[in-house]
């Protein structure tokens, strides 16, 4: 097969709208171009609003990363005022945020990623019948179980934050509802139920056993649960070497506390970790349908190119540090936190590594949630009053399920003068930059196998979904 151009879309089982253009020859992808085909302009919508209105508006960017947006906005405003939430509220907000991330990981694996292995393309494989029984889209037993378990887990958000998504409970000074001892026992019970689901279905073993794996060798010996099933598929289909990235990772650090984030912040490049200085970040606009120059988000602008010029191909900007794109997400977070299994997978950096990064984080987040809950003092204050200054700048850096999320706000004369957001998938699915350097997904797709006659190549689907993209946040 030589020199074909494929347009892949609509791309489902990703959140939002995605189109990918592939140049294919000799049965493999030679170049990929990622297009985020929806522009809404939330950054512009916020201009002129009361600063506190960011807490109402930004969560509505997304129905699945809503708490992440909420926490980022609250942190950015708290930064302007130079305050932090009360200690009890900080833990409660971290707990709500971790619940959302955990729910998203389980949703991604069961509903978005695994159904592709139940496709007719794999009928000849001995494991296909099992894949159909567990993961056939909308029908498989694992999908039903995941939806039910997730709904139960989100009761924690209902109880403390009113509803999911789009809560207004998380504020710069704390939470709008103080917790009680009764809430704690209810939440403990919800968490126990979710642990039981994870241990029975996903891991088929105690979470601590998976969280203590420390090498690829030990990982490949894991046989139980749907995790074991995936690892078997991965080794049979070569998912370890499929969709490999450039091994550059970034994390803003998850769940900020006054002692630093509970999963550490940093950058991984050339096989080692270094500290991240957020002032190094800039967004390149040369291949995005955006007007203006490359800028740090604190002074960035969002002016869409209404003429949609020919040499651009996406509404997504291209965030870069020192000319490089960075991959972000669960694998990045666990690498930055120094977990030995994640470090062992850092160089592999393909489909399997991303999925295993999420397994690892799922196990560790459940354990973290149980610890956070036990540490919350329900008699403590959950709110302190915050006076937002009439002018000022603030930065809110958090980790959504899909990776690093940043909000940058500038307040002038008591209203929002500028608001910029860089979402995780803005990093992962960025278009090329002025030097022609492709974004992380674009690079990871090069070399993907395309079979004769395939219009929507299955290997491309595995690679794209391994990133767990959230396209609605990408452009916002």
């Amino acid at each position: 097969m030589t020199d074909t151009r494929l347009i892949v879309g609509p791309f489902n089982r990703v959140e939002g709208d995605l189109e990918i253009r592939l140049d294919v020859s000799d049965g493999a992808v030679q170049a990929a171009y990622t297009n985020s085909p929806l522009f809404r302009g939330f950054e512009r919508i916020l201009v002129g609003k009361a600063p506190e209105d960011a807490l109402t508006i930004t969560p509505r960017i997304c129905g699945i990363c809503s708490i992440s947006q909420s926490v980022a906005a609250a942190r950015a405003l708290a930064d302007v005022a130079g305050v932090a939430p009360t200690p009890a509220a900080e833990k409660a907000a971290a707990m709500l945020h971790a619940v959302e991330n955990l729910a998203d990981h389980v949703t991604h694996f069961n509903l978005f990623f695994m159904p592709d292995f139940a496709r007719p393309a794999y009928t000849s494989h001995p494991w296909h019948a099992d894949a159909v029984a567990r993961f056939l889209a909308a029908k498989g037993s694992a999908i039903h179980a995941a939806i039910e378990a997730r709904a139960g887990l989100l009761h924690i958000v209902g109880l403390l934050a009113g509803k999911w998504p789009h809560t207004l409970a998380i504020q710069p000074g704390g939470m709008t509802r103080a917790m009680t001892a009764r809430d704690k026992v209810r939440i403990a019970s919800d968490l126990r139920r979710f642990r039981r689901y994870l241990e029975r279905n996903l891991f088929g073993a105690p979470l601590e056993a998976f969280a203590s794996l420390s090498s690829i060798n030990e990982l490949e010996g894991w046989r139980t649960g749907d995790v074991g099933f995936f690892l078997m598929l991965a080794s049979e289909l070569g998912l370890d070497i499929s969709g490999r990235g450039a091994a550059r990772y970034l994390s803003f650090g998850a769940y900020p506390t006054n002692e630093g984030p509970l999963f550490k912040r940093g950058i991984w490049q050339n096989g080692e970790r270094r500290d991240l200085d957020s002032s190094e970040i800039y967004e390149d606009l040369s291949r995005a349908w955006m007007l203006g120059e490359s800028r740090h988000p604190s002074s960035g602008v969002t002016v869409p190119d209404e003429l949609m010029r020919e040499d651009a191909y996406s509404w997504c900007k291209a965030p870069r540090i020192d000319g490089h794109g960075f991959e972000t997400g669960a694998l990045s977070r666990q690498i930055m936190d120094g977990h030995p299994l994640a470090l062992a997978l850092a160089g592999e950096g393909g489909v399997r590594a991303r999925i295993v990064g999420r397994f690892l984080e799922t196990a560790r987040t459940q354990i973290l949630l149980e610890r956070l809950l036990s540490e919350i003092d329900p008699s403590g204050p959950f709110m302190q009053s915050v006076d937002l200054p009439y002018q000022g700048m603030g930065e809110g850096l958090v980790e959504a399920a899909r990776g690093a999320l940043g909000h940058w706000v500038q307040i002038r004369n008591g209203v929002i003068e500028n608001y910029q957001i860089i979402a995780p998938t803005t990093w992962n699915f960025s278009p090329r930059d002025s030097a022609g350097t492709p974004g992380p997904l674009e690079a990871a797709l090069v070399g993907a196998n395309v079979k004769e006659g395939e219009e929507t190549p299955i290997s491309v689907q595995h690679i794209v979904r391994s990133f767990d993209p959230c396209m609605v946040c990408t452009v916002h």
Binding site: G158, M383, Q461
Partner: protein, 305 residues
């Protein structure tokens, strides 16, 4: 959820999060619906419809098709027995149309509170209905499920929709109904700041006495609702809720008196009742209203022996 729909005979032709089909398979399906080879009973649309830039709709292209979502929705709506707008954006434009409305967003059959959107005001689907607006930001999952169940049962007609096209099974209630802050409301015992237990109407922007929705009757994610979690109802089921004309969590006032009145309440009566009840507020209620937890429990009356 999946079983509930399946048991009612409802199956997905395609769903962006649940279906297996991607790319070329979806394009084939859409073509067959347009040619009439596949019957479309219900078209559900999430998200506002964007008309920008410059009226082209190209701010939102349906990936892989070279056509705008505006174009697709107008085409598919004509084939559907019923059209359902899921969420306030799809119904009226919603948050996407706030501020300067950068993408020129509108709803399916409304532009804010004005009839006529991506589909014109007189549009009726094949089944003879206007767009059914399951408004809410977010919409309640059960509002969506029950709307689909009612359609499948042939039990939803235009008379079951309110003036903004919302199903009356949830829109005939107010968020105020079953709000746990009702005793505070009765005495206008108000919270002064978020995280205080009192009523949020007087100072903190709550419009639960005017907003439609059974949020406090059926509750969210188990036991939740906005007011149960201590933050105001912002009327997210209504057109133009995204532009209240003031900060969301602040009550606009004239001469110290809130401008918005509870639905169906004459102003003079409200003023008279409010001043009387405020003067009569028991100590317990006045104290608890400005605390984050109950400070004064109800007096326990012992049974007469």
């Amino acid at each position: 959820m999946l079983e509930t729909l399946e048991d009612a005979g409802i199956s997905f032709l395609w769903h962006p999060a649940l279906s297996q089909e991607t790319g070329a398979e979806v394009r084939d399906l859409l073509t067959q619906i347009e040619t009439g080879a596949i019957v479309l009973d219900v078209l559900c649309v999430e998200g506002s419809i964007v008309r920008g830039p410059l009226g082209t709709g190209r701010y939102h292209m349906l990936a892989g098709t070279g056509r705008s979502m505006l174009d697709w929705v107008q085409s598919l709506a004509r084939k559907a027995q019923f059209v359902v707008a899921v969420g306030t954006c799809a119904a009226y434009g919603g948050v996407t149309s706030a501020g300067e409305n950068p993408s020129d967003a509108i709803g399916l059959q409304y532009d804010g509170a004005h009839a006529g959107g991506a589909l014109d005001a007189v549009f009726r689907s094949v089944g003879g209905m206007p767009v059914i607006n399951v408004a809410g930001c977010p919409t309640h999952p059960d509002w969506v499920t029950e709307t689909l169940l009612l359609l499948a049962a042939g039990a939803l007609d235009a008379g079951q929709l309110d003036d903004f096209g919302r199903p009356r099974f949830y829109a005939d209630h107010l968020v105020h109904h079953a709000c746990p802050k009702n005793e505070f409301y009765e005495y206008k015992a108000s919270a002064n700041a978020l995280s205080q237990a009192g009523c949020l109407m007087e100072h903190l922007g709550c419009v639960g006495t005017q907003a439609v929705g059974d949020c406090n009757i059926r509750t969210w994610n188990g036991d939740g609702s906005c007011t149960r979690a201590g933050y105001p109802c912002i009327n997210c089921t209504a057109p133009e809720f995204e532009e209240p004309g003031h900060a969301f969590a602040e009550t606009p006032k004239f001469a110290g008196i809130p401008i918005g009145l509870p639905s169906d309440m004459p102003k003079a009566w409200f003023m008279a009742l409010a001043s009387l009840s405020k003067a009569a507020t028991p100590h317990r209620i006045a104290t608890n209203a400005v605390a984050d937890r109950v400070q004064v429990p109800p007096t326990i009356k012992k049974p007469k022996s």
